[in-house]
């Protein structure tokens, strides 16, 4: 942050008080500090999570062009033809790689240094070598290879399987960037662990094209007497003496009323979004960003998602299941980046992908029916003008079955990469950029101290 403390105080409306503080001494200054802390940051930043449900096979998202032979030998029917890869030159690796041919928008963002790849990242309890993994001398993440548990590991920010909240929600807990009470975290779709905090609860908003003023509106809103009774019943349900589950249901209803009231305008977005599941979610996220001042939000966190990545069979190589999904991801994220440029916040918004896990390098099935099974470490994208893009962070794995990165052992090994970078580090780098203090970081990522650095360096500021 570049603003001075004076700017900061003025921006949060405490300018008049500073003079008083000077006159009345330290005690009032202390109060002022407390107020400033409670009001949260004054600039604007946002994180946008795009979760690819089912386990995106990133073996076909980022391919080593210089070592194509080892890739294609193990990939067999699933290998993307080298001629079709969208080549990218990777400075830190001193090598050429290729993105999947359908990722044209993302490749353009790479070339503009707006997109970085974090290689072979995944849930870890602590740094783990292959020997340690096979000998079980380092604890393994809770329930590897299980969809639900690996989603939970990524979203909760802990590989030990013990957290009932997510790192998006916990960032909102510690940042306190919603003085008006509108949630910092918005989810476009169902509630997910990522979005749940200890003190904060996300707003869930239907996707575009639903206009924001209708997104949480009740149709009986003209009937004030009935509305008042409806609200009273929610208040009664939320009372302490009420059964806990009834309280929980009442809380959602009360939040609906409160959040719905705040969504009074539908800001125009000129950028054309693809009319897809992810495109419509990201378009609605862009609108909520355009509304940030009215909502009183200096920080926003979004959870968007796309399903269908569990491609055990008939995965497709350049067309079909996964390729079609990758097209959707590339086009939607590309449009969303354009919208942040339109809104003048491209350097204040960082978008990133997450997924359950990557998939086995060695396919299941054969021919056009070939697919892949649940694996572990994956490559993920980070996008935005604050990203030190056009490079890899972390170490690309050796694509060898039963090789130095494989958690599988022996002749049946299928290539499930042991991550060389922890999901905790990936998230912590983003959390630090958003403004989580190093002091608060262990609240958000309780195991971060087990890893060499909490900051992978892929954010410029």
């Amino acid at each position: 942050m570049t603003s001075t403390r004076r700017d900061f105080l003025r921006q949060i409306g405490c300018g008049a008080l500073t003079a008083t503080a000077a006159l009345t001494g330290a005690r009032d200054l202390f109060v002022m500090n407390a107020l400033a802390a409670a009001a949260g940051p004054s600039d604007y930043k946002a994180l946008v999570c795009v979760f690819l449900f089912g386990g995106n096979d990133t073996n076909n998202v980022v391919v080593p062009v210089d070592d194509y032979a080892s890739y294609s030998a193990a990939r067999g029917n699933l290998a993307v033809p080298s001629a079709q890869l969208l080549t990218i030159s990777v400075p830190s690796a001193g090598a050429t790689f290729g993105l999947h041919p359908n990722l044209t928008r993302l490749r353009a963002l790479w070339q503009a240094h707006r997109l970085a790849v974090v290689a072979n990242v995944g849930p870890l309890v602590a740094p783990t070598t292959r020997t340690q993994y096979l000998n079980k001398t380092v604890p393994r993440p809770y329930q590897l290879f299980s969809h639900s548990d690996q989603q939970a590991a990524w979203q909760s920010g802990s590989a030990t399987g013990t957290l009932p909240t997510g790192w998006g929600g916990r960032i909102a807990d510690v940042i306190q960037a919603s003085p008006n009470g509108f949630p910092t975290v918005a989810t476009l779709g169902n509630l997910t662990l990522f979005s749940l905090g200890t003190k904060t609860s996300p707003v869930s908003v239907p996707s575009a094209p639903t206009p924001l003023p209708q997104a949480l509106a009740l149709q009986r809103s003209g009937d004030s007497a009935a509305n008042s009774a409806f609200r009273q019943l929610l208040n009664q349900g939320a009372e302490q003496g009420s059964p806990l589950l009834v309280q929980a249901a009442a809380d959602v209803g009360l939040q609906l009323l409160a959040n719905g009231q705040a969504l009074t305008a539908d800001p125009p977005i000129a950028t054309v979004f693809p009319n897809t599941t992810l495109g419509n979610q990201l378009k609605q996220a862009a609108k909520l960003m355009a509304l940030r001042t009215q909502l009183g939000l200096t920080r926003q966190i979004f959870f968007c998602s796309l399903g269908g990545f569990d491609t055990h069979v008939s995965q497709g190589v350049t067309s079909g299941s996964q390729p079609d999904l990758l097209t959707q991801v590339s086009q939607a994220i590309g449009a969303f980046y354009d919208a942040t440029v339109e809104l003048g916040i491209a350097s204040q918004v960082t978008t990133f992908t997450l997924s359950d896990f990557s998939r086995t390098l060695k396919p299941a099935g054969s021919g056009g029916a070939a697919g892949s099974d649940h694996a572990w470490g994956a490559h993920h994208f980070v996008i935005g003008d604050a990203v030190a893009g056009g490079d890899f962070y972390g170490t690309f794995p050796t694509l060898a079955l039963n090789g130095p990165n494989d958690s599988d052992n022996g002749s049946g090994a299928r290539g499930r990469w042991i991550p060389t970078t922890a999901a905790d580090q990936f998230g912590a780098t983003l959390a630090l950029w958003l403004g989580v203090s190093p002091t608060d970081l262990p609240t958000v990522f309780p195991n971060i101290g087990r890893f060499a650095t909490p900051n992978l360096g892929f954010m410029i500021s």
């Binding site: 908003v205 009935a226 009834v246 959602v252 069979v313 008939s314 054969s366």
Partner: protein, 529 residues
């Protein structure tokens, strides 16, 4: 509505009014409230008729009656080709390549069928053993129906048989990729989810469903990747049965062994170090592997707990789980005995002992239990699932179209800010709360839009109940017994009575509508206890 319908309305009025007036008999017979509560668990919602019937015969006899209903021939449809034939557009496509007809039929059955308990168990099983039409190969009703037939039979059948039947059902075979599983490169999809989601779960359980812990206090996994690899090899070598019609894939008859070379004949080490010897065919391996799974001590507590969560409460006590699991094991997985044990358990029947008892009514159950009491007053085309409801009413449970094999919501979803489980809360957000509230409004105030797919919409003709409007307190009391099992809090009752009384008595229909709207959208009703 015809004359017969009009007479029925009078009957309903009498019953609803009567419920509030009849003093509770000091006999062993269930009270109105006890009967209504039981029916909330055993059916898709209480009705005046069923309340009276359960009061007359009791819980146990009602269950026996439901078990004894003769099972009709389950309706199946001829399979359709993979893609719509030329000319099959519009209604043809809707009726043969979307879940529309099954969603409509299912809601129709949930609301009106006499086979309430069987369907309620089917609905529970459908959310444990998920096959979803989100898979583009399963969008045909003709492919999904045989799977529902398996669950219909299994609901009152035997669990071990059910395991066999779901495993070899073609829709499941397609959904979790058994049909393309070849020994040359097995896929692990069915192997993993069979163990993780359908039978034993991820961790070793005590007989009461709590986690076994090792010396370090850590949970103990039931299997590792090598077990999954072995089960993946078990399920190799199956394919669709020969077509009933040339060129159309057979989704009606169970899977059959494919070419002998497609099955892995090497030895396989399964659960508890049981090894299947080399050289055996696909059916033999499958039989012994399912026996291996069924013999695992986790199955009773795992399945018992999941069924209890679907039917009674999100947070059952370990003792409740243990009692149900014991019945599961002692009867060899007899589903009727398990269902009876769940419903007659003291924890299902006694008044809730704590605030974490019960469960959020999921969208399907909230809709059906809200509509069923109105019986003949209900005007509906049964288009009540997300896909075809008006925009903005999507509640997150598009029947037969779960987002993944993990169902619409996870069984271990923690209610925000607490360690209490509330699975259904995973799909209860500001967005879906708005959808529910507006659905109630549209149904009660006759505001739902109609179109060709939704010819009448859904609404309740409340004109027959306007006589209740002159007595707001009586109206509140009737609704209390019908929907809240007599547990409406005094504050809530006051709020409703005041709100109704504020509407001029001359506007009787508005009064009735307002009262019902407030009750069915209240948090007390959203959570079934």
């Amino acid at each position: 509505m015809g004359i017969a319908g009009g007479r029925r309305v009078l009957l309903i009025v009498t019953l609803i009014l009567g419920l509030a007036l009849v003093p509770l008999a000091a006999t062993a017979a269930p009270t109105v409230d006890e009967a209504a509560r039981f029916l909330g668990q055993a059916t898709f919602g209480a009705t005046p008729d069923l309340i009276a019937h359960v009061q007359q015969v009791g819980f146990d006899a009602f269950i026996s009656e439901q078990f004894a209903l003769p099972s009709p021939t389950f309706p199946l449809l001829d399979n359709w080709p993979q893609n719509p034939p030329s000319g099959c557009t519009g209604n043809c496509q809707r009726d043969n390549y979307s879940m529309y007809p099954l969603q409509v039929s299912a809601f129709g059955a949930f609301v009106t069928s006499p086979y309430q308990l069987r369907l309620r168990v089917l609905f529970a099983l459908n959310q444990i053993f998920v096959v979803s039409a989100v898979d583009g190969d399963l969008r045909q009703p003709s492919r999904m129906l045989p799977y529902l037939q398996v669950l219909w039979t299994g609901a009152f059948g035997n669990f071990r048989q059910l395991l066999n039947d779901i495993t070899l059902n073609p829709a499941m075979g397609q959904y979790l990729d058994t049909v393309s599983n070849n020994q040359s490169a097995p896929n692990e999809n069915y192997a993993r989810e069979l163990l993780q989601l359908f039978t034993i779960g991820l961790n070793q359980l005590n007989p009461d469903g709590t986690l076994q812990l090792d010396a370090a206090g850590e949970s103990i996994p039931t299997f590792d990747q090598s077990t999954i690899t072995a089960f993946a090899r078990v399920f190799t070598g199956w394919g669709f049965a020969p077509p009933r019609t040339v060129g159309i894939v057979n989704y009606i008859d169970p899977l059959v062994p494919a070419a002998a070379t497609a099955h892995d004949r090497q030895p396989k080490t399964l659960l508890n170090e049981v090894t299947l010897p080399a050289g055996r065919d696909a059916p033999t391996d499958l039989r012994d592997a399912l026996d291996n799974v069924f013999a695992h001590p986790n199955v009773g507590p795992f399945i018992g707990r999941r069924l209890i969560q679907q039917i009674v409460t999100s947070n059952p006590s370990p003792a409740y789980v243990q009692r149900v699991a014991a019945v599961f094991r002692s009867t060899g997985g007899d589903m009727k005995s398990v269902v009876r044990a769940i419903l007659l358990d003291q924890e299902a029947r006694a008044e809730p002992a704590d605030g974490v008892y019960g469960h959020l009514r999921e969208p399907v159950l909230w809709i059906t239990s809200f509509l069923r009491p109105f019986g003949p007053m209900l005007v509906t085309d049964y288009v009540l699932s997300d896909s075809f409801l008006p925009n903005g009413l999507q509640m997150g449970q598009d029947l037969f179209r779960s987002p993944s094999v993990f169902n619409f919501y996870p069984p271990d979803f923690v209610v925000a800010g607490d360690s209490t489980l509330g699975p259904e809360f995973a799909i209860y957000s500001t967005s879906t709360a708005r959808a529910r509230t507006n659905f109630a409004y549209q149904v009660i105030y006759k505001a739902m839009s109609t179109n060709a797919n939704r010819p009448t919409g859904t609404w309740i003709d409340l004109s027959g109940l306007t006589s209740m409007a002159s007595n707001p307190a009586g109206l509140a009391d009737a609704l209390n017994h019908m929907f809240l099992y007599g547990r409406m809090s005094p504050a809530t009752r006051t709020t409703i009575v005041n709100s109704v009384s504020a509407i001029p008595a001359s506007n009787a229909l508005s009064r009735v509508r307002n009262a019902i709207y407030l009750v069915v959208t209240s948090p007390q009703y959203l959570v079934e206890r």
